[in-house]
Symmetry: C2
Amino acid sequence: MDPVLVEVTRGARVESSHRGAAVVVDPAGGVAFQAGDIDAAVYPRSAVKALLALPLVESGAADRLGLTDDEIALACSSHSGEEVHVAGATSMLRKAGRDGACLECGVQWPINEAASRRLAAHGGAASALHNNCSGKHSGFICLACDRGEDPAGYVRPAHPTMREVTAALADMTGAALDEGNRAVDGCSIPTYAIPLRALALSFARFGSAQGLAPARAAATRRIRAAVAANPMMVAGTGRFDTRLMTALGARVFSKSGAEGVFCAAIPELGLGLAVKCDDGAGRAAEVATAALIGRFLHPDGAQGEALAGLTQPVLRNWNGIAVGAVRPAGPLA
Amino acid sequence: MDPVLVEVTRGARVESSHRGAAVVVDPAGGVAFQAGDIDAAVYPRSAVKALLALPLVESGAADRLGLTDDEIALACSSHSGEEVHVAGATSMLRKAGRDGACLECGVQWPINEAASRRLAAHGGAASALHNNCSGKHSGFICLACDRGEDPAGYVRPAHPTMREVTAALADMTGAALDEGNRAVDGCSIPTYAIPLRALALSFARFGSAQGLAPARAAATRRIRAAVAANPMMVAGTGRFDTRLMTALGARVFSKSGAEGVFCAAIPELGLGLAVKCDDGAGRAAEVATAALIGRFLHPDGAQGEALAGLTQPVLRNWNGIAVGAVRPAGPLA
């Protein structure tokens, strides 16, 4: 039974609570923190996008195509569909000699509601470029084109590009990825159930580069620097990952996944962490991730204040009245 | 420890699970079903809007002001801010000699994303009329004006209108409502923590009218008939309550609340039910409510098919691929 990691209060009472598992490990697999069943396999969903972007960078494809740092960050993103994200994905595809018609992620209106309304107000319509995964998919298409492969069908497990991407995920996590633990993600690529502990280990290695071959180690550093310099590209206005990395820069790398999953690295400490809320709640996974980062990193000054705001966000109603809060609980309190 | 009531699958695995409590009672308080801690106090939030609308109808204010059945349904709603809802709230306020400037619920863009984009595309902006609670608030203003009271400040616990509304809630639930269990709701009115069993009892009484004074009994029948005839007004396009009552008509009355609460009545069986998902997930509360209705009502034909679709909804990704489902679990399986 996983413990309560996060509580949601209203007035003087706990209104809702979130159970889950969380683990922090070093690159050798040593456990620095654990709560709940850390060996349970979970679908990481979008939390491992940075690992799926490794082949794009370490193969040299990103450099050969002239991808910029903000485009590399976008390749790791679950973006909000804001204008800057759509422009970035469009640019990536153009560098590969392609356009949005090649995207196989499906059509989605921008997650950012204001961006969605702006699009509608200008007579626009949702497209695959607005899909929160279009940056990742554009990266896959860039990789395929640089390899001289036809990108068509790149979302399928057997496509050469998806095989290369999946191999990187398997190598970084040490997990076997096959039909037995495979499902289909929101954007139609495969997602594999992987033990939470292995996900944390992969981010300890991603953040420290320990134990990685030189080209991969260089790719992890390049991706981390690209995201730290462009935190807006990895999520969007007001989003957790963007706010966290805007405040803490390269001191943390974090990535949300759907259904309450989060992965993060604390490079200066060589630690990786992974969180899964049993109920799939993103609000709880965010607070748990912020609490774990604070527990190990202890940032002060403006960084500390920003992290505190993410660790115990105040809930306000439609009139701006503070009605409650989300806060770490149990082993995270 | 509350049991798992609902599971979310992806591929062959359970990706997320939702714990909670659920109870079904008759008008005498006899328990027909229980799971989890049914005596825990929960904030019902919007799930009791129909009870808060009782004074508007039983006082005769609704008839004196000429409110139509769709407007009475709107007074019980958490609506999606679609054009029909905004028109209804505007009409209610006009009948009270007021307008949207009197609403104290706060500004909210329509919950319905297409309606929100239509509003933006026509150069419009969000207002309090678009707030999902504007129908309920318009009902409060109608009641205040019919009583000859100044509606200003009607959201405050001490306002005569809110005292009358709160007294109806206390009477129907049998719960003491005071500062000790009070918090502020999303639309700024008070919400009170009430045992789940008492919430179910109030809906057994609301659905059966058993034990109620004649004017109140008539008001419950009037409200139930108004909502059954206008299920679009109580929620909106594609929403659970609207789909459920469109399919089952007056055979059920259901109302969602925020943070995983649901209340419902099955009038022909004299049963009331209440659900609270520990984690606040609406998707799970919906499936639990549908499962409980199916367990007792056993609808067949088209009604049965519609209820089955609400009891085990298929999850599709951005390409329309079926990737999983939400399904009842444990004591609801």
